[in-house]
Symmetry: C2
C-alpha cells in the first residue's frame, strides 16, 4: 500500500534561538512525504513555481516519492517566514507569500485515484474536499487543519470532517474547533463531527489519540537539542500514516504503534533545520528510537 | 514500612471557574499523608493553631495517620487563598497567612527517628535540613520545593539537595533551579546537585522521572472534570512514595509503578475541592484506575 498526500511545498525562512536559515525546503506536503517515505510509497499532489530548483525535485524523487502530481506553474513557489522564541512550542509567522499556491487546484493523476491511504495536509478545506471527490474508495482518509480555517472556513471544514476518518490537530485547535476548554469533552464533540479518530498533537508533551472507546497517550521523546520545530506535526503525520499504509492494518495496536512511529520521526526532524536530519536518517535509527520509546514508557516489563 | 512526612497543614480558600470554597482542609502535609495512607502507615510532622477543629484531626487519625508529631501551638492555623482561571495549570495566590507556621520548628518524636522513607514537603529548606538531622538512617529521602525557596534560600536548598535521594518539582521550577531552558539538560544539572532521581511534574501533561541512565514518561489521566488542582502535586507524591514504602522496593520497575500510582491519586484529588474525593475513595478505585493507565499507555499488548 502506498499513501497519497496533498499539501504545500514551500521555501521556509526560519529563525530560532539557535540559528537562522533562508529559503530552505519546507511545506506540509514535503515534510509529510519525506517522513512517510521511510515506511511506504508516497504520491505527492502539490504545486511549485518555476523557481523551484532541480536539487529539491531530485531529493524528493530520490526518496521514491511519486511526483506525477506535483504541478509546476508559472510564478514563484509558496514562501513562509517565521520565528520561534525559547518556548519552541509556538511559531510566530513573519511573512506568508502564497504565490502559485493562491490558484492551486489539486488534480489527481489517474493512477492516484485508487489510493487507499490519503492525507489531506493543512490547506483550504475546499481544496481538501476537491481531493476527496477525486479518490475512489480510500480505506483511510486523514486530515490536518489550523486555526485560520477553523475561523475562516468553518462550513467547508465541517463538510470535510464529515468525510474524514481521522483528524490530526494541535491542542489549542482542538479546543477552538469544539468550543470547549476541556480536552476530553472537546474530543467527544469533534468525534461527533465525523472522524472516528482524533489525534491531538501537544508538541513537547506528546500526543493523545481518541476514539469513541479509548484514549491513547504517547509522550514526546525528551530531546537535549530541539533546533527547529518547523514541520514536526507533518513529519509526525507522515510517520504515523506511512506506517499504517505499510502494514495495511487499522486495528487498535497498529494505530497506537503508528502514533509512536510518528513521534519517532518528529523527534528526529526537530534536531536540525528544514528536513536536514531526515536526509541522513537510516531506517535502523527509526527502529532504534522506537525501542527507546518502549523503554521511556514501560512500567511493567523493566527492572 | 511506613513513611514520615513533614509539611504544612492549612486552611485553604480556593476559587476556580467551577466554584469556590472557604477555609477547607489543605496543606502539603495533609494532601501527602492522606494520599500515602492508601498504601502504607504515615507519620505526620506539622503544626496547627488552636483553631484547628477536632473533625480534621479525626479525619486524619481515621486514615491511620500517626499524629504524635502534629504540634498544636497557640495562635491561628496557616491559611492560604488562591484562584485558578480556565488554565488550571497555574494557581494565583491571593493571600498567605503563615500564622503558627512562622515559628514552626519540626521536632520528631523518638519513634519517628527510625523512619526509612521520608518526604520533606515544600517548606523552608532550613527546616527540611533540621528534619534530616533528626532521622537516623533513612532508605529514601524525597523532597519538594518551589520558586520561592529556589530564589530566596538557594544556599540552604543546595545543602538540602546534597542529602536527598529524590527531588519532585514542577517543570518551570526545574528550569529555574538549573538555570537551563532545555529540560533534559536541566535534569542532568539537578542530578549533579545530589539527588539520584528527579521527578518533574507537568500538571495535565503528566510527569517525567530522570535518573543518570534513563527517563520515564508518564501521562496524566485525561479527565472530563478537573474541579480544583490544589494539592495535586502533594497527592502525587503521597501515592508515589506511599507505594514505594508499602513494597519497600526501590528498583526501576517499582519507581515507575510508583509514578503511576502517584498519577492515579492526583487524578482523583482534582475531581473535587479540598481532599473531598479522597474521603470517598476506595483502594479498589485506585487499582481500577491503575489498570486504566495501562490501557492508556500500552502500544504493544492491545488490539
Amino acid at each position: 500500500m502506498g499513501i497519497l498526500v496533498v499539501g504545500s511545498v514551500a521555501f521556509d525562512s526560519v529563525q530560532t534561538p539557535f540559528g537562522r536559515v533562508e529559503e530552505v525546503l519546507g511545506g506540509s506536503g514535503t515534510y509529510f512525504s519525506t517522513s512517510a517515505s521511510f515506511f511506504t510509497d508516497v504520491s505527492l499532489v502539490a504545486v511549485v513555481g518555476e523557481d523551484f530548483p532541480r536539487e529539491h525535485i531530485d531529493f524528493l524523487a530520490g526518496r521514491n516519492i511519486d511526483l506525477e502530481g506535483l504541478q509546476v506553474q508559472p510564478g514563484r513557489t509558496f514562501r513562509w517566514a517565521g520565528e520561534y522564541g525559547y518556548d519552541l512550542n509556538e511559531a510566530h509567522t513573519l511573512d506568508t507569500q502564497l504565490n502559485v499556491f493562491e490558484r492551486f487546484s489539486p488534480v489527481l493523476p489517474e493512477a492516484y485515484r485508487d489510493a487507499e491511504y490519503v492525507f489531506l495536509g493543512n490547506i483550504d478545506p475546499e481544496l481538501q474536499l476537491r481531493v476527496l471527490e477525486q479518490v475512489r474508495r480510500p480505506k483511510l482518509v486523514a486530515c490536518d487543519t489550523m486555526n485560520f480555517w477553523i475561523d475562516g472556513r468553518r462550513d467547508a471544514l465541517l463538510r470535510t470532517l464529515e468525510r474524514v476518518d481521522m483528524l490530526l490537530i494541535n491542542e489549542a485547535e482542538a479546543r477552538q474547533l469544539a468550543g470547549e476548554a476541556n480536552l476530553v469533552k472537546a474530543a467527544r464533540k469533534i468525534l461527533d463531527m465525523g472522524p472516528s479518530s482524533l489525534v491531538v498533537k501537544r508538541g513537547e508533551y506528546g500526543a493523545l489519540m481518541f476514539d469513541r472507546h479509548s484514549i491513547f497517550a504517547a509522550p514526546a521523546y525528551p530531546l537535549e537539542e530541539v533546533f527547529d520545530p518547523t514541520g514536526a506535526g507533518d513529519t509526525f503525520a507522515g510517520g504515523f500514516l506511512g506506517y499504517l499504509a505499510s502494514c495495511n492494518n487499522l486495528d487498535a495496536a497498529a494505530l497506537r504503534q503508528g502514533v509512536i512511529f510518528g513521534s519517532v520521526m518528529a523527534s528526529f526532524v526537530v534536531e536540525q533545520f528544514s528536513l536536514d536530519r531526515l536526509r541522513s536518517l537510516d531506517y535502523r535509527d527509526v527502529e532504534e528510537r522506537f525501542r527507546r520509546f518502549q523503554l521511556l514508557t514501560d512500567f511493567e516489563g523493566i527492572g
